[in-house]
Amino acid sequence: MTDLVIIGGGPAGMSAAISAYENGIKDIVILERDDELGGILRQCIHNGFGLHKFKEELTGPEYAHRYAKKVRDLGINVKLNTMVLDITKDKRVIATNSQEGVFEIQARAIILAMGCRERAKGALNIAGSRPSGIYSAGTAQKLVNVKGYLPGKEIVILGSGDIGLIMARRMTLEGACVKAVCELMPYSSGLARNIEQCLNDFNIPLRLSHTVVELHGRERLEGVTIARVDENRRPIKESYEFIPCDTLLLSCGLIPENELTKGIGAELSSVTNGSVVDQNRETTVSGVFSCGNVLHVHDLVDYVSEEAEIAGKGASEYIKGINKKGASIGITVDGKIRYTVPQIITEKKDVTVYLRVNNVYKNVKINVYDKDRLVLSKKKLKVAPAEMEAVKLSASMLEGVESLKFVLEEEK
């Protein structure tokens, strides 16, 4: 029997482990499929990480290094090159690596921290053959930053999420010519600073409301046809434009990697594609927690670490048999607010609720209602899908509350 098994040794898994350890749980094992701790941060060599946590700007590898060092210094057990095959409802973790073969660990509590993968499918709904030269932005990032291999010379990027923007700069620095970044939506889902320092710095055009409609080339990509889209996101014929290029990068968003979670029977949210959790990040299966990008996709790793600390503390309380649950307050949203995390509050204490909106809105209020009674109202000059918002609820606000509804109200 192991007190705590953590699946994934990226930023979420490492931070959860440290938090659980500091809350008194010493019997921990982290299972990581790669040959080092750090997860996706290892290939994110750009800076911009850690301003919240460390009050300085770090690169991805540096941010990962700080946590990996702490994990090592605390003597937390880590199994690298280890694939988790299955997790059962009674918290047995079945895993494999080359030294131990297939083995099983019975856990008292489990923290899911498997991260996310790139969304690729929908984006490839493009006419034409399937020549080589088409990569997901994350794959290209790994090729360039870890393997040292430039996938192409003339690049078009579809999707303006942060990875796409970061890769536009990275490929340019490595000597490629990025001809355009096309974004289907009328706004970018990437951070404003990345549009500035990754595109504008190099005069790379951002084509909003544009998509790729056709691929050209037989063996290797020779070009793409792009088009402007109407309000219904349908390509406008008259706007077709051919751009010669040898490489197309797809940066079409991330999706939580929840194959293992399904096996446990934890309820998943159709909006986040992650588990439904309470304020401790405990899933609907008791003793199983979830945090980081496997729970919902974050824009800042600092928030991933924070969330993982909550999960680590929650798991430690669970293992110690501390149960303060005495409520069941479900949180619903209006649609303009796409989702909240947590989705349910089971303890009347101070809780920070994170949320994400479905569009760019200006001069809004985030209103929290208990039926018709306004519990809290938070003004925002601007909210955007790229940026997670946080709303702090105090224990006293939750007194007598049965359910909460989060509503985005636009000011006239």
Partner: protein, 115 residues
């Protein structure tokens, strides 16, 4: 004259308005914190950027590196040319200086590399 900038000093990305008279900065607004003002002034006088990239190691693998300070924006590609010509000796610890004084900054390792 007015110039509108996006502050890149943190992920918030505030929109900054800079009031200019010739080359003199009269006022900066729109910044949420003092770093925004600093950024606006630097951007309107002498723009700088922190460069992050990779360097070859003697065993053929890559080590991620950054400039320890922002360097003049117009020197970014010159700095890259120097970094790309340099081969790093192993082992490397985070923070090791791999090239010193390149356009006023050091080039330091951002990851560990064992022999």
């Amino acid at each position: 004259m007015n110039r509108t900038l996006t502050c890149i000093a943190c992920p918030l990305g505030c929109t900054l308005s800079v009031e200019l008279e010739g080359k003199d900065i009269i006022s900066v607004s729109g910044n949420t914190c003092p770093r925004g003002k600093e950024y606006a002034i630097s951007e309107c006088t002498h723009p700088v950027r922190t460069l992050t990239t990779t360097m070859r190691c003697e065993n053929g693998e890559l080590v991620s590196v950054k400039t320890s300070k922002p360097i003049p924006k117009e020197r970014v590609f010159d700095a890259l040319a120097v970094i790309n010509k340099t081969v790093a000796r192993l082992p490397i610890a985070v923070g090791d200086v791999l090239i010193s004084d390149l356009f006023g900054s050091d080039v330091v390792a951002t990851m560990e590399k064992r022999k």
